[in-house]
Subunit: 111 residues, 2 copies
């Protein structure tokens, strides 16, 4: 195990700067119901969550894809803690550039 992991800091995959987040990419991420369920769960629980804790009904590789899309759109931050990926909603950052969007999309039950 590398030092960073021993310290619990983990590896960090690439994330866009919040200023580079595009509405187009955010909407493409949120139009998928599985990805929206992830965002909703992070939004309502308001805590960091490991990928395995969302109870998704898709394969692990599909789930990984969905988390990657959310991260690349700027909606979540991911960091490794040991072998787990922890996910954090970039709530205040998104609220700054797209005010009201998360509340509208994730702040209530879905269809």
């Amino acid at each position: 195990m590398r030092t960073a992991e021993r310290k619990g800091q983990g590896r960090v995959p690439a994330h866009p700067e919040i200023g580079d987040v595009s509405l187009q990419q955010v909407l493409e991420a949120l139009v998928d119901p599985v990805r929206r369920s992830i965002v909703r769960e992070l939004y309502t629980s308001n805590e960091d969550r490991a990928c395995g804790t969302f109870g998704l009904t898709v394969s692990k590789s599909t789930a990984t894809h969905h988390f990657n899309v959310l991260r690349e759109a700027g909606l979540i931050r991911q960091r490794y803690v040991g072998t787990s990926r922890m996910n954090t909603l970039r709530r205040s950052e998104i609220e700054e550039v797209l005010p009201g969007l998360l509340e509208a999309v994730a702040g209530r039950g879905d269809d």
Copy 2:
């Protein structure tokens, strides 16, 4: 010309009840940049507009498709006035069922 048209009431294509509007369908409508530009224009100008006045750079049949998608998602109302289709944003209705969404998606410049 039929009586309704002579009276200027026009024909009315089918619209969903606002209670039947689904977040999934609304996001699928808004994920397209052309459709988003239509919604933004209706949102910011705050007036009814004929289909031909949006300056869209797509063919007429493609434009008609985009307007149909927006209508079927519950985002706009359409009515015929003579041979023109007039479009109205269902602003207060959408605000009621998806508060904050239109402001977040259409209330500012795009990417």
